[in-house]
Structures are given as structure tokens and as C-alpha cells.
């Protein structure tokens, strides 16, 4: 065992050694603080075992911010390496590991959890529900995501990171990649993928079954709509990923031949299966972003969303098309002209519903009264930047032209324009917007605007030049180049932009600290003069049961119109509220998934089997005892009165 640790712990690289030490110090620090302030019990009973959708959402977002930091450091390291030709800062091997972890972390462990976190916090409130449909499952989702993320992340200090790209193409990822790196990728994604799939199911049932009385489908806020559609995409797409990852795990660990070079495997099968999940995946992250922008724009434009129905139709249209375009990721694989032509057309067709959305947002802003808050700045900046991402997407969709863009920096620029201007801007916008709902105070606007300008300008400076690098023939994923290539100037500019984004991120983190210390506390639940039900809670931070009385919905933007009506406050009558119990098994079960996953990464069969048995044991225990645990508890009328009154006095 000691030898095993000695062999795999990476100590020969100063960068990683530094990381090792800082991880160790952080862990010691956290343990010390928790022990010193006697917070272990608090941590366990308030957070680890919680089934409250708001707390789970907050944990998702925290984890996503940490992952954004990790992925961002990866990005800066890569930009540092590429700034000048023939740079020896990173070796090829290190660079390959870094772009692989960067891409995987940003999409799987940053963008998705950030959005799922916001969904968790917001969607039940928006539909006037007390929690999600399956709170226990929700906790399991979170913890399996979390342990999947931890498993993936320890690869860089223990055993070596995956290095075959986030697309992990065969046969490079099988015959070409010895060592545990790829196994980390396969199992980290597998475990967190379970969480995502469960979240998808949970959100569908929540939105279909738990809407407040009067909230018909056509009265649902846009963010809830996008969440619903996204959840459907998840449920259809993630099983593909699960199977695909499992097949490669078999290839690598049990000697099967699905994707191998030898033994009759089919390497193209991986590319197909990967992108059958992978393309819907990019819509899984971008559709909720569209929802966030819709909410923020309509709130701060102080105007109803323009074209609500066409927004929904285009949303559904995009989600269907997203399953019909995967071949555009390998037009160059030698498919017939007819095949490439069909997939060109489906791909370009996505521009139609997307265009509708862009114009609807402009329509919302037209004849409105725009308040440029930080949240609104992110949302407004999204429009022109995403248009650039969109039109270059159409260009890439033209297969005959894509033969020249494929695998080049043109592509890198394009997908960062969609992923950053689409997803990251939305995450920041949503974070600022719903922050008072989660923490009871706003983020500082001044600091927020500094962050915005640094990040948004830095982003364009970083990625616009990359379109030109593509036209100059620079392929993606190269760790270095020579001066004669003529790429130096554009790369220097690009790196300067990346630095700007880094500074922007620092502002955001500092803002969280600063606002925690100094921001004015919110006294009402309606921080921005909002339109939808999440702002209708009686306290700034909703009580664990969300609504003392479930609101009645009479229209779209129901809260907004209620406020207009003013006057007669009816005497409300409280009833007991039934809430679910906390649960520890989701955490334990996910920890066991981690154990089993770790065993599989290193072919430690005893560990994998023990972990697997543990997981089954957890399921059995849960099945046998669920009728007792599921009973939950009742919040008494007295307690509700007390909570609600304490607020009224404050206000």
C-alpha cells in the first residue's frame, strides 16, 4: 500500500508539488477551523445531510465556483505557454493534461453544476413549491456530482491527469494512454453523470407535478421553461454517456474491444456516441442560460418578455434539433456528400430558433426602461457576443468550409464565444440576480461592474484574435509553435485578454467577501422589484418551507401584477406544513461510489467490490426503512406564525 501511494503521488513537478502542499494546508486549515469552532455537527446536520433545495443549490454553486477557479488556472497556464513561440514553460505532456482537465472541468464540473445550482435554488420558488419532488434524490444527485468531481480532480496529484482531450477519442484514449489518467476521466464523469441524470428526472417531476394552483404551463416563468426542456434533454442524452463511458471502461480494464485498434474494435463508434451525448450537452448548458437572461432582461427592462410563446416554441425546436446535428463534429471523417449535406442543414437550422430568441430579447428591450445593474450588464453584453458565437457557428456548420475550420483556433474561438458569452455570463448574471435570495444581501454593484468590464473586455481581447489564428492555420491543442508560423502577435494579444478575465474573476471573489462583510441586509423578499414568484417570499432568505401559504397564480409574471393591484391584504390562515427529513445515506452512498470508482481507476478490485457492495447495502437500507424516514415532519402553525411575524416586525 505504501508503495502504491509512493508510486502514484506526483512529487517531481514543482507546479504540482505546490498544489499538493496547498491542498494539504487547506485541508488542515478547514479541519482546524471546524474543530476549533465546534462546527462539525453543524456541518453535518445543516449542510451534508440537508435535503433543502436552496442549500443544495448553494453547495452546487460553491463547488462550481471552485471548479471555475481550477479551470481558470488551467486556462491561464495554457495561455502563458502559448504567449510566445518555442516556450518551454510547459512540456507537451503537461499541456495535454491541462487542456483536457480544463475542458472537462469547465463543462462537466463548472457550467453544469453552476446552472443546476441556480435551478435548485430558483425553480421550486418560481413555481410556488416547497421543495423539489424528490428531496432525498436531490441530495444524492449533489453528492454523487461532488464525489465524481473530487475523483476527477485528484488525478493531477495522484497518478496523473487524463490527457486525451475532453472528447477522449479512441484509440488514443485506449491504446495510446497507459496509466490511470483516462480511468479518472471515465469514472469521474460516470459518477457525476449519475447525479445529473437523477437531477433531470427530479426537475421534470417537480415542474410537471408541483406547480402552484393556477400556474398553467403557459404561465410558467421562462427560466422554469428552459429548466424543464433542459431536464428532458438530460434524460435523453445522459444514458448515452453512461453507456459509452462504461464501454470504454470495459475496453481499458476488462479487455473488451468496442473502440480499440486491435481485435476488431471500431474507433469511430466512440466519436459518434460521444457526440450524440456531447452536442445535446452543449444545449444542456446553454438553454438554462437563455432562461436566466430572459428573467434578468425582463426584470431590469421593467417589461414583459417579448414573444413568450415563440420563445417556448424556439426552445423546444432547439432541443429537438440538438439531437440531430452530432455529425458536424466530424464532417472530416469522410462521410458522403449527402450525409454531410444533411447535417450541415440541420446544424444551420438551429440558427433559426436561436435568431428568434435574439430578436425577442431585443423586442423586450424595445420601449422598455432599462436599469443597468450588474446582472443586467452581463445579460445585455451577452447579446452581441453571443451573436458572434452564433454566426461563426453557422459558418462552421457549412461542411465544405468546415474542412478548413475543423480542429483550428477558429473553432476554439467559436465555442468559447458560445460557452463564455452564453453560459458563463449567464451564471454570473444569475448569481448576482438571485444572490440576495440565497444570502440575504446583494453583491456590491461597484465591484460587480469592475468585474464585468474586466471580464467582458478581456474575453473579447482573448478570443477575437483566435478567429484569425484559425485562418492562419493554427490547430487547436498544440502546445507550441515556431516564430515562422506568424502566430506570435495574435497569441500575445490573446494572453493579455485572458489576464483581464482572470482579474475579473478575482473581483467577483473579492466581491463575495466584501459584500458578506459590508453589504446592507435585505429586509424584504423582493430585492429587485421582481416579476416572478421567487420574489414573493415573505423573508429575504426564504424559510425552509419557502411559502407559508402557497401563492395562487393568475397570470404570467403573476407577482408583478399582484403588486400593481395593491390594497386589501386578506387575513391569511396558516396550516401545518409537511417537510421532508434530512438524510445521511446520500452522502455515504456517494462516498462509497468514490471508493468504488477509485478502486476501478487503479484496478484495485477488492476496493471496487467493497465499494460496490456498500452502495448496494445503502440501497437496501434505504428501501427497507424509507417508509419510516420518508414520513418527514410537520412545521407547526405556531412556528410558522413566529417566523412570519419576526419578518413583519423587521420590515
Amino acid at each position: 500500500m505504501i508503495d502504491f501511494i509512493k508510486d502514484n503521488l506526483i512529487l517531481d513537478d514543482p507546479l504540482i508539488l505546490g498544489a499538493n502542499i496547498s491542498i494539504l494546508l487547506t485541508v488542515i486549515g478547514i479541519v482546524f477551523v471546524l474543530t476549533y469552532f465546534k462546527k462539525w455537527k453543524w456541518l453535518w446536520s445543516e449542510w451534508i445531510t440537508t435535503v433543502d433545495h436552496k442549500k443544495i443549490g448553494i453547495m452546487y454553486i460553491l463547488a462550481a465556483l471552485v471548479m471555475l477557479f481550477r479551470g481558470g488556472v488551467d486556462a491561464l497556464l495554457m495561455r502563458a505557454q502559448l504567449t510566445v513561440p518555442n516556450n518551454a514553460f510547459l512540456t507537451s505532456d503537461k499541456y495535454n493534461e491541462i487542456f483536457t482537465t480544463h475542458g472537462t472541468i469547465m463543462i462537466i464540473f463548472m457550467a453544469m453544476p453552476f446552472l443546476i445550482g441556480l435551478m435548485n435554488v430558483v425553480v421550486p420558488l418560481q413555481i410556488g413549491a416547497r421543495d423539489v419532488a424528490f428531496p432525498y434524490l436531490n441530495s444524492l444527485s449533489f453528492w454523487s456530482f461532488m464525489f465524481g468531481a473530487i475523483l476527477f480532480n485528484i488525478s493531477f496529484v495522484f497518478g496523473g491527469s487524463p490527457d486525451a482531450g475532453w472528447t477522449n477519442y479512441a484509440p488514443l484514449a485506449i491504446e495510446g494512454s497507459p496509466g490511470p489518467g483516462i480511468n479518472y476521466y471515465l469514472l469521474g464523469l460516470q459518477i457525476s453523470g449519475i447525479g445529473t441524470l437523477l437531477t433531470g428526472i427530479n426537475l421534470i417531476v417537480t415542474i410537471i407535478k408541483m406547480r402552484a394552483p393556477g400556474m398553467t404551463l403557459l404561465r410558467m416563468p421562462m427560466f422554469t421553461w428552459t429548466t424543464l426542456v433542459t431536464a428532458f434533454i438530460i434524460v435523453f442524452a445522459f444514458p448515452i454517456l453512461t453507456v459509452t463511458l462504461a464501454l470504454m471502461t470495459f475496453d481499458r480494464s476488462f479487455g473488451t474491444h468496442f473502440f480499440t485498434l486491435t481485435g476488431g474494435g471500431n474507433t469511430m463508434l466512440w466519436s459518434n456516441l460521444f457526440w450524440m451525448w456531447g452536442h445535446p450537452e452543449v444545449y444542456i448548458v446553454v438553454l438554462p442560460a437563455f432562461g436566466i437572461f430572459s428573467e434578468v432582461i425582463s426584470t431590469f427592462a421593467r417589461k414583459t418578455l417579448f414573444g413568450y410563446k415563440s420563445m417556448i416554441i424556439s426552445l423546444v425546436g432547439i432541443s429537438l434539433l440538438s439531437f440531430l446535428v452530432w455529425v458536424h463534429h466530424f464532417f472530416t471523417m469522410g462521410g458522403s456528400a449527402a450525409i454531410n449535406n444533411i447535417f450541415s442543414i440541420t446544424t444551420m437550422a438551429i440558427a433559426i430558433p436561436t435568431g428568434i430568441k435574439i430578436f425577442n430579447w431585443l423586442g423586450t428591450l424595445y420601449k422598455s426602461r432599462i436599469q443597468y445593474t450588474t446582472a443586467m450588464l452581463w445579460a445585455v453584453a451577452f447579446i452581441p457576443t453571443f451573436v458572434i458565437g452564433g454566426v461563426t457557428g453557422v459558418m462552421l456548420g457549412m461542411a465544405a468550409a468546415d474542412f478548413q475550420y475543423h480542429n483550428s483556433y477558429f473553432l476554439v474561438a467559436h465555442f468559447h464565444y458560445t460557452l463564455i458569452a452564453g453560459v458563463v455570463f449567464a451564471c454570473f448574471s444569475g448569481l448576482v440576480y438571485w444572490y440576495p435570495k440565497m444570502f440575504g444581501h446583494k453583491l456590491n454593484e461597484r465591484l460587480g461592474k469592475w468585474a464585468f468590464w474586466f471580464f467582458a473586455i478581456g474575453f473579447n481581447v482573448c478570443f477575437l484574435p483566435q478567429f484569425l489564428l484559425g485562418f492562419s492555420g493554427m490547430p487547436r491543442r498544440v502546445y507550441t509553435y515556431v516564430p515562422e508560423d506568424g502566430w506570435t502577435l495574435l497569441n500575445v494579444i490573446s494572453s493579455i485578454g485572458a489576464l483581464g478575465m482572470g482579474i475579473g474573476f478575482v473581483f467577483i471573489v473579492y466581491n463575495i467577501y466584501y459584500s458578506f462583510r459590508y453589504a446592507k441586509r435585505e429586509t424584504t423578499g423582493d430585492s429587485w422589484d421582481g416579476r416572478t414568484l421567487e420574489w414573493a417570499t415573505t423573508t429575504a432568505i426564504p424559510p425552509h418551507y419557502n411559502f407559508a401559504v402557497i401563492p395562487e397564480v393568475k397570470s404570467l409574471d403573476t407577482f408583478w401584477f399582484n403588486k400593481q393591484e395593491t390594497g386589501k391584504k386578506e387575513k391569511v390562515e396558516y396550516k401545518e406544513i409537511h417537510m421532508p427529513n434530512n438524510a445521511g445515506t446520500p452522502f455515504i452512498m456517494s462516498a462509497l461510489m468514490f471508493v468504488a470508482g477509485f478502486g476501478l481507476v487503479f484496478d484495485l478490485w477488492w476496493m471496487a467490490i467493497l465499494g460496490g457492495l456498500g452502495i448496494i447495502a445503502c440501497m437496501v437500507i434505504r428501501s427497507l426503512r424509507s417508509h419510516k424516514e420518508d414520513e418527514g415532519f410537520h412545521v407547526s402553525v405556531e412556528e410558522i406564525k413566529k417566523t412570519e411575524q419576526s419578518f413583519h416586525e423587521e420590515a
Binding site: 500500500m1 477519442y169 484509440p171 494512454s177 490511470p180 417589461k303 415563440s310 456528400a337 428591450l365 468550409a401
Partner: protein, 314 residues
């Protein structure tokens, strides 16, 4: 105010970058053969359309952002909070993208079919067939007719259709000579056809653009277009003066490493056809003790590196 300038920043930045970088560097837009020229035309067409769209959206966007910002002298008549849609407008902005997509889809379709065949300008000439094989991290070119093989460079006559038969011995690679024509994958166990043609003599950069691991950045080759006579002379000289490709030499080429340019007066096609035999390179590596994850192990375990081996003994 910053806000007003903001939407223009990308355009301004883009234009100034174009100027800075000097258009000559944009090799994709500077084609030296009919294939790349077709693609350049298609790209330029789409760029004009896209710049048009971007311009329209940015102008409308800026106008709205400035006009409707909340401010002291805000004109209340401009504020219509309950305006929730307009069927007419929504239909208009559905139809416009449809038209644009159709307008772009047609030339794209034409180009796709055109690129599958031999370039029109030389339709009367019998194409020269060259087999291009990607091996980690090099390119091997075989001329079956001429019985010549080159490594990391390929000589072709100008104004002559060349039919590249692209394949790979191990990782999936992408064959790309930006100034001559777009990419096609080389994959083990398969052969993809790609017609290319150079219009003027010169040395053009070619490379693998698909990630194949450690040496991928150096998996480059020279695409050399010669006057037809020079090309014929080179073929003759090579056939007479260069060594034959032996089995041993070829096996060395299967190892994952970069190599210098080489020339031989016979091809590997009688040793192995990678289009038929995807396992060949792995077998050779095993023979030479290059132990990547291999299928040869009976237990089929990942035991590529030492650390893994040592733990499996515990």
C-alpha cells in the same frame, strides 16, 4: 460612456487586428489550388452574410440600449411595459434566418459534391494516386505507380489532380494543407479519398491537426508542388538513387516518435496495408517493447507503466 462604446469594441478590435496581422498571414484565405479556392469562396460568402447580420444586430442593439436607458429625462411615452409580442414581427424574424440559411445551404451543398470529385480544371488528366499514412507522429506518403515512398514531405506536379488515399496506422489523424485544401481524417482500418491540386510551384505547410498525443504539434510535412518536368525528374532520380524500404526500417517507423524527412525507392504497401490491418502498428510496438496499453496481455489489464505494474503485485 463605456456602455455606448461597448458593442462596437469587438468590431473595432477585429478590424484593427485584421490590419495588424496583415492579410497575407491568413493562409486559409490565400489558396494555391482549386480545392482551397472553392472553400475560400464559400468562406468569404458566409463572412459577408455574417458581417451583415452582425452589423444589423449591433446597430439595432446599440440604438435600443441608448434610447431606452432609464435616466432623468426619460420620456414616459417611450415606455410600454405590457407590450408582449407582435406576430408580424416574429414571423419576419423567423423568415429572414430561414432565407439566409437556404442561401448558404445551396452553395455549401454544391461545394460538397464538387469536392468529392476531381477538380474541373484538370478533368482530362488521369490523377496521380498517393497513399498518405499518419503514424504517431509523422506522415508517410506512398506512390504505388511510381514505387516511391517519402516521409514527412510529398512532392507533386503542379496543375495536376492528386488523389490522396488517407489512412492511419494508430491514432485518428487529420490531413491538412491549408493553402491547398481542407481536411480529411486518416483512420486505422479505413481509407478516405481526398482530391487536391496545386496551381503554382511552392512549398506549402501540411500537418496533422487532430490530437494524437505527445508529438502531435510536430506531426508536420512539406507539401511540395514542382513544375511537371522537375517532378518527373525527381521521380526518376528517386527510383534510381534512393534505397529500398526494408521491413526493418518500416517497423522502426511504427514507433511513436518524430523523424526526419526520408525517401525510398519502394513502398510499404507490400509490407502492410493499414487500411486493412489496423492492428499492425500495435503488434510492432509490442515486438520492440514499447508497452502501451496492449491487447496482448492475457489478463487484458492496463499495465502500461511501471507504477501500475508494481501495485498489481501487492
Amino acid at each position: 460612456m463605456f456602455k455606448k462604446i461597448k458593442p462596437f469594441m469587438p468590431i473595432v478590435a477585429g478590424l484593427s487586428l485584421l490590419v495588424l496581422s496583415g492579410c497575407s498571414d491568413l493562409i486559409v484565405l490565400d489558396p494555391k489550388g482549386p480545392v482551397a479556392a472553392t472553400q475560400r469562396d464559400l468562406i468569404m460568402l458566409s463572412i459577408y452574410f455574417m458581417l451583415g447580420i452582425v452589423a444589423v444586430v449591433f446597430v439595432v442593439f446599440t440604438f435600443i440600449l441608448v434610447k431606452y436607458r432609464d435616466r432623468k429625462e426619460f420620456n414616459d411615452k417611450d415606455y410600454k411595459p405590457d407590450m408582449h409580442g407582435s406576430v408580424k414581427l416574429e414571423i419576419i424574424w423567423t423568415i429572414i434566418p430561414v432565407i439566409i440559411v437556404v442561401v448558404l445551404a445551396v452553395p455549401n451543398a454544391i461545394a460538397l459534391y464538387e469536392l468529392k470529385g476531381q477538380p474541373e480544371s484538370t478533368a482530362d488528366k488521369e490523377p496521380i494516386v498517393i497513399q498518405a499514412t499518419a503514424v504517431d507522429w509523422k506522415w508517410i506518403f506512398s506512390y504505388p505507380e511510381e514505387n516511391i515512398e517519402t516521409v514527412n514531405y510529398v512532392n507533386v506536379p503542379e496543375d495536376y489532380p492528386i488523389l490522396f488515399k488517407v489512412t492511419a496506422a494508430d491514432s485518428m489523424a487529420s490531413f491538412w494543407v491549408p493553402q491547398i485544401g481542407g481536411q480529411i481524417y486518416g483512420m486505422p482500418g479505413m481509407v478516405n479519398d481526398l482530391f487536391l491540386q496545386a496551381d503554382e510551384p511552392g512549398v506549402y505547410e501540411g500537418r496533422n491537426s487532430n490530437f494524437t498525443g505527445e508529438g502531435m504539434a510536430h506531426q508536420e510535412f512539406d507539401f511540395v508542388a514542382l513544375e511537371e518536368e522537375d517532378y518527373r525528374n525527381w521521380v526518376e532520380e528517386t527510383q534510381e538513387n534512393e534505397p529500398k524500404l526494408t521491413k526493418g526500417t518500416y517497423e522502426k517507423l511504427m514507433l511513436p516518435e518524430t523523424v526526419e524527412k526520408m525517401t525510398f525507392s519502394s513502398t510499404h504497401l507490400n509490407i502492410v496495408d493499414h487500411g486493412q490491418n489496423p492492428a499492425y502498428a500495435m503488434k510492432i510496438r509490442e515486438k520492440y517493447g514499447i508497452r502501451e496499453k496492449s491487447e496482448g496481455n492475457e489478463d487484458g489489464k492496463v499495465d502500461g507503466n511501471d507504477s501500475n505494474e508494481s501495485h498489481s503485485n501487492h
